[in-house]
Symmetry: C3
Subunit: 373 residues, 3 copies
């Protein structure tokens, strides 16, 4: 029985490029690496590369699994906007929650939603917000005041916050909020050393950002697990957040552990053990392609079914929204077919849980008006 899913809520994605990348530029979006492929190898030769060339060519009038060159040629013929429109609309996504904190010539939430024919909401990336505030701050007191105000102001319209502390320092931060003198001292040091555009990596300030978001009560997304080589993967194990999770518990702020791979079973445990913790496996499903069912199954071992969310983590290429959606649907279909055919799950439960993962959990968590199915 094919699974009928509601329009997806993609609770964590970014914008698409307004201008098409060249061949190497395109391929560079298929990897988390920030350096060239090894001699004699191609970024297309990966599970994500194969998934892109499985799902996307048919939507542009080409056969599945065509080589990269004709696909890129066809992309150029159709034009960036038409490609984006076709791929986004085919993804079945009803709502895009967009982390607006990435640099580059990317569509904003409204523009993305218009292209994709859905709704959009904003997720504020804390570090990007702090860096923008720092660019115009004269001193620590000003920085802290303006930043704290900006978080409160953002909370009136945004649907949540996101932290990339994993990239900037790792997740082994002290769990508690730093006190005001600590924050001011750290801000003074940072502003004094900083060139415009400079990144925030100070652990005291990263904690201040997290706690500013916690106090708003909006869902706080935390990058965990793999990502680009800026991070040290062993410092991104979500279990390093355990004491922070405990400290946040009384504040009623939901924490959403993004990705988690290859520590997604650890993230699942945290979502199992703590009322206010949620999880997704967004980035992991796209990058593992045909293996997405295996990864999703691992995440579903301990994560309560009401606490796992769908996301594409797509960025730059509209292909990544489509692939994110297709590998998720394909994985979920394969798992539920397997589990219902053996009698382990009922058909009714399978349909209900699929709806939770695809849309309803995110709608409940972020307070969205349910999409029409």
């Amino acid at each position: 029985m094919p699974l009928t899913l509601p329009p997806l809520v993609d609770h964590h994605c970014h914008g698409v490029l307004r201008h098409a990348p060249e061949r190497d530029g395109f391929a560079s979006f298929l990897t988390e690496s920030d350096s060239p492929p090894a001699p004699g190898t191609s970024f297309f030769d990966s599970q994500l590369g194969f998934a892109v060339l499985r799902w996307c060519p048919p939507l542009l009038g080409l056969p599945a699994h065509c080589p990269p060159e004709p696909y890129l040629e066809r992309r150029r013929e159709l034009g960036t906007e038409e490609v984006a429109r076709r791929l986004l609309r085919a993804s079945g996504t009803g709502t895009y929650l967009v982390d607006t904190g990435l640099p580059g010539d990317l569509t904003g939430p409204a523009e993305l939603a218009e292209l994709g024919g859905g709704d959009a909401g904003v997720i504020v990336r804390l570090e990007a917000l702090a860096e923008r505030v720092a660019d115009t701050s004269h001193d620590a007191a000003g920085f802290v005041e303006v930043f704290d105000h900006a978080v409160v102001a953002s909370a009136r319209t945004a649907l949540g916050f996101k932290s990339v502390a994993a990239y900037r320092y790792g997740l082994g931060l002290e769990p508690d909020p730093p006190d005001s003198p600590e924050v001011h001292a750290a801000a003074s040091r940072w502003l004094a050393e900083r060139d415009p555009g400079g990144r925030l990596t100070d652990p005291v300030l990263l904690r201040h950002l997290l706690w500013a978001a916690v106090r708003t009560g909006l869902p706080l997304q935390l990058h965990t697990g793999f990502g680009d080589p800026d991070l040290r993967l062993d410092r991104c194990d979500p279990l390093l957040l355990t004491d922070f999770i405990r400290a946040v518990a009384p504040h009623g702020c939901p924490l959403v552990l993004l990705h988690g791979y290859p520590y997604h079973r650890n993230a699942a445990y945290l979502a199992h053990a703590f009322t206010h913790v949620y999880a997704d496996v967004g980035l992991a499903l796209s990058h593992t392609g045909v293996r997405a069912a295996a990864v999703l199954a691992e995440a579903l071992e301990l994560t309560p079914f009401g606490k796992l969310l769908y996301s594409s983590d797509a960025y730059g290429l509209p292909e990544l929204y489509l692939v994110g959606a297709r590998v998720f649907e394909d994985a979920l279909t394969r798992l539920t077919e397997d589990w219902t055919s053996s009698g382990a799950w009922s058909e009714r439960d399978a349909t209900r849980i699929a709806g939770l993962l695809a849309a309803d959990n995110a709608a409940r968590l972020y307070g969205l008006v349910p999409a029409e199915s």
Copy 2:
């Protein structure tokens, strides 16, 4: 070919509740969390919840996968004892080794075995024993003397010991036995600070407990891996026990690493590398439900087949004994069917190894008289 198993030896379980819990109380036994479900979610929506409603309703005259309410209603109609009797007897368990150290209105080993129609043996939880001794100790010297004596006395009738040092401190304990002055100093501090019933968390005393058990030569069960949120999961990686395992080797005491998940491949490695180390995946199979075959398969990658043991880790609800047994049998059946149909294993080996895992390994390790099959 359906797998024919001998009566199971459940080498690690607890008692069942003498009085039935209410709805929320029942659901709270389906999770390791100690806090309420997240708003809009239910503990029944989990792999364990689905496994309970798959296997148990038919034994109470209801269809599989019925909703929670009629199931709980039917439970009330039948009464706690009748439900326990039906579910325990359907589990195919021949022998229950009961960790008697949990609080609550639970059946003891004899009562459990009578309900379930099997044999029982006692596993002594070291920390609970030490806390009972502490409740009546006047000073450190008295505590140490009475505790040490109690361990030796227990070893005459018990089949093994169990430690929950993982919960109390983590597994990164110093490997060697503390010397007598250290133990007395730690006991003095603990007794001076302690209220009656207070938990033992001091690492020196936890090590003393472990080594007291090691010296008896009986199998020593060690909690590793996930459990309730008391623990920090990253401090429960069984690899943290490596130096302790090396220190114990010359003493001839078998160590049994319980659960291990999500570090069960690490536990398997230790059982592979060290003669005196054994493993189980008890708690992990019940909680992962339909995924139990995947988890069991991972445990069977490196664990020698003569060193993996079955357990349910069931506690409170008779449903958990039944589900523990069913998911284990179902997982083992699926794996051996897959492995024999491809020619990787022979049918004869599959039957033999299934018997080892289900009963014979535990019977050999704990010195049980083999059950009649």
Copy 3:
């Protein structure tokens, strides 16, 4: 569609024993343990034991899955050399890259290649080279000079280097090359304390060895993940190498992370994120037997397909070369059949990627003349 593979390049193996071991000696090659099996258990009762008795007896005229005794008896009848010849030649291996640093009465690369009917190349084990140099060194200056010269000289004929720093200290070494005074001081201490044949475990010297190899530009193989109980598995997580990997990047030396299990997803991430990092899962496939497909699939989640290499890590028994090859081929066949039948991969891609993993990636990395298929 059966997969047609080119002759395998086994980029990491050792020699075979020139004289057959007795029963217990044979079984001891089926485990990484260095101590006896637990009472009542056998090393044959393991995934590797079952794989040996699946694949090897038919090549010696016995049925698959025969018991150990007739197999060992038949082995004796045929003689060590005939058994080696039959098993090696049936493995389909075209090229053996042999780590020559293990002690024992083992065939060298040319002898192995002659028995197996293939080509051979040499991989120099750094620690064994340093220990041989130390045996004839009078002082630190002499040791360092002769060792450094030996590395440069080896690089003229060897195809790569290998380090077992994981066993000797763990992978959490300081990342940068030690300076000359540090190296000399460490060498002085080591030579002064050392008995002939003594092992190199000093972290400063281990780093010096690694950097001496890095400077040659040849591929450097690094043991990561499980192995015999000398190592502490948690100190062999390849992620501990992250800062070393970053430090090596500008030097253009390819790093090959061997085995990795159970951290093979971490190794895959490093191969994904860093241009100069490659991976294999050699030892893990043999030891997990019927589970090799699952382990290989995990490694293929993030490892770029151009960067995963085949190896057997076989040592001592010719059975291990055959089993290494068979479980790899069987795993690859099962995965590609599954992935092509669902439409996720094309047949053409499956054949091409299988060739990369089996031979072409290694040929490219080590600069081999492609084998005739």
